[in-house]
Symmetry: C2
Subunit: 370 residues, 2 copies
């Protein structure tokens, strides 16, 4: 039994040592900790900790040795342990309703991107209805998130609980009137008014409105905006029928409106694009109504299919990208502020997307006199 003639290079010796050490740790059913790295690297545990803290004071040589050992051991700092002492989890709760994500996946995608860019992880909660926030609140408290972005309906008590717990909260696209809570939103009421204004200016008189679910604040504001504006303009009250934000609701809604009116309306304002497309398709393909020749259809949201050739819907766009950006900014600044929460509402204006499903100009050579 002789010793090996050619000793392996120092590097691989270190690697072998790390591998051996690691195997032992695994055998004991422990996890690799900063303490283990310290032993392998021949430094103190606090030195290891510092190496993983950006901007800490460590000499180049220790840093190198620690990083080598860490790599050999597959060491990664434990976020749970860290957050325990720093009181920062770098996680943000995002709450969105199931249906909202189905219809506007852009909202979640943008939020996730913006938060990630700011070094926050997203703890996602999808809820069946936008009024079902309560069950997830417990989780939000437990998981020590640094803040929350909620795109759902909150009660006064719920908002107050966030305050009580000093947890930064941004309400997304939900107008909590009179409540002192930071929020980012698109002006839904004004959206409704805008559509009514433009359609009325083009000479439409008999309006149908396919509203959204009663539980949806967004839907209600759109409807109210349109109704209020029509009343202001002295037009006959629109026929308002309910809907569930889905395609079928759009078709059903149009049938209901026609039944109640005894005739085709001049224009139909739909609570969202999905319903508008349901309404549009029924009108064109089943009822043979000329859109926009004898009836106009408009929606809200500017979802992608609305822009497709076969649809080319006239609708209102919510500037999702900027809204997500604003929400992420607002929340992170609240988190940095560390308790001095400055409440702020950021309201964005909708953008009219002119499609070919609504006539927005007065009929040619036709005075508006009845």
């Amino acid at each position: 039994m002789r010793k090996t003639k050619t000793p392996p290079p120092a590097e691989s010796v270190a690697a072998a040592r790390a591998a051996e050490y690691k195997a032992a740790v695994v055998r004991e059913n422990r996890r690799i900790t900063s303490y283990d790295v310290a032993i392998v690297a021949g430094v103190s545990q606090s030195a290891v900790s510092r190496c993983f803290k950006p901007g800490a004071s460590v000499s180049k040589s220790t840093y190198a040795r620690v990083m080598n050992a860490a790599a050999g051991l597959d060491y990664i700092p434990n976020a749970a342990a860290r957050s325990l002492i720093t009181r920062r989890s770098n996680m943000v709760a995002v709450v969105i309703s199931h249906v909202a994500n189905l219809y506007y996946p852009e909202a979640l995608a943008e939020l996730s991107q913006q938060l990630t860019r700011r070094g926050k992880r997203v703890l996602l909660f999808t809820i069946p209805q936008e009024t079902d926030v309560e069950p997830v609140l417990g989780d939000i408290w437990q998981y020590q998130v640094d803040g929350a972005i909620i795109a759902a309906a909150l009660t006064d008590e719920q908002v107050q609980e966030f305050e009580r717990r000093q947890l930064p909260l941004v309400v997304f696209n939900r107008n909590l009137h009179g409540r002192t809570v930071s929020s980012v939103l698109c002006d839904q009421y004004e959206s409704g008014r805008l559509l009514a204004t433009r359609l009325a200016a083009a000479g439409h008189r008999r309006f149908g409105i396919i509203a959204g679910p009663e539980t949806s604040a967004v839907a209600n504001e759109r409807r109210d905006g349109a109704c209020d504006r029509l009343r202001e303009l002295g037009l006959p009250p629109p026929v308002v029928v309910p809907g569930q934000f889905d395609y079928a609701s759009g078709a059903r809604g149009l049938r209901d409106i026609i039944a109640r009116l005894g005739d085709t309306p001049d224009a139909v304002i739909c609570g969202n694009d999905v319903m508008a497309l349901g309404c549009l398709d029924l009108a064109r393909h089943e009822l043979g109504i000329d859109v926009p020749g004898s009836m106009s259809v408009a929606g809200f949201d500017a979802i992608e299919p609305a822009s497709w050739l076969s649809c080319n819907l006239t609708t209102l766009r919510q500037p999702m990208h900027n809204m997500a950006l604003a929400a992420a900014d607002l929340l992170t600044s609240m988190i940095e502020a560390h308790g001095n929460h400055t409440v702020e509402k950021r309201m964005f204006a909708p953008q009219l997307v002119v499609g070919s499903t609504a006539r927005l100009l007065p009929p040619e050579g036709n005075s508006l006199a009845a």
Copy 2:
């Protein structure tokens, strides 16, 4: 100064005591801990801990006192501290590409729902491209998730790192051929074959294929399935053009195919529904092609707009609900197994959705002879 004549009821005394205690804690800038609850309730800290552990042995009276104190103090167990000792975070990482969520929000919504139902929180990671998993892996290790569901492309090394770290992994809708990793998927290759088979049986001979991005394994398998099957049937090789899974790609793809073929193809197979609809709209509304009279169009996914009247696309549905269910089941069982990971692949068959954009029967009274 006399004492109050009517002493407040015991309950409110307790409440007042809790409120006072809480104020003190807040003043010291501490958090409410199980220790605080113990003091207010007059029990030990471990008793408090037990009260929050379902199925622990606590007397009814202690439980009541603890819960009262906890309520008064707004106490909630700290998940980070808990996971530190239990080695369970009850969080699951879900990785999905940005575009995937835009096109199939259903996948994420279903996964989130199923995981929540099983008591797991979702730590969401959205990545720009499905090949960009690497940057999020570090976060996954750090955050001590109990497992991960990844709907993106993984390299061998990446899969091995999951194994090395003993982290349960389920790959969603991505076929990692030959790699021993649990996965849930829909048979994309077979989907491609199926579409080719049915269209060929109806007499289509000159095929165009609008493929998806080269980086998308799903897209490639659909394309390969179709191509292979057409070759088997002895049909002329299809004209294959690339696409990016978006609406514009569908239109551009059809133009390219027609240019390369010098004529309208008999059938176009599109890598997903969004492109299929882009192709369909161009054909009908710009090129005036009769679909399905003189050309058939089919896609994959059965996204919602595909079912709308104006589209009524012939496509293949992936049973998303069952797939999400399977993924959640698979992952949770791996987590329970505690290291004895049994690798399993669950492959689902696609379902043909017969729309009106593809002729699936031979033309009437027409022999197939050229």
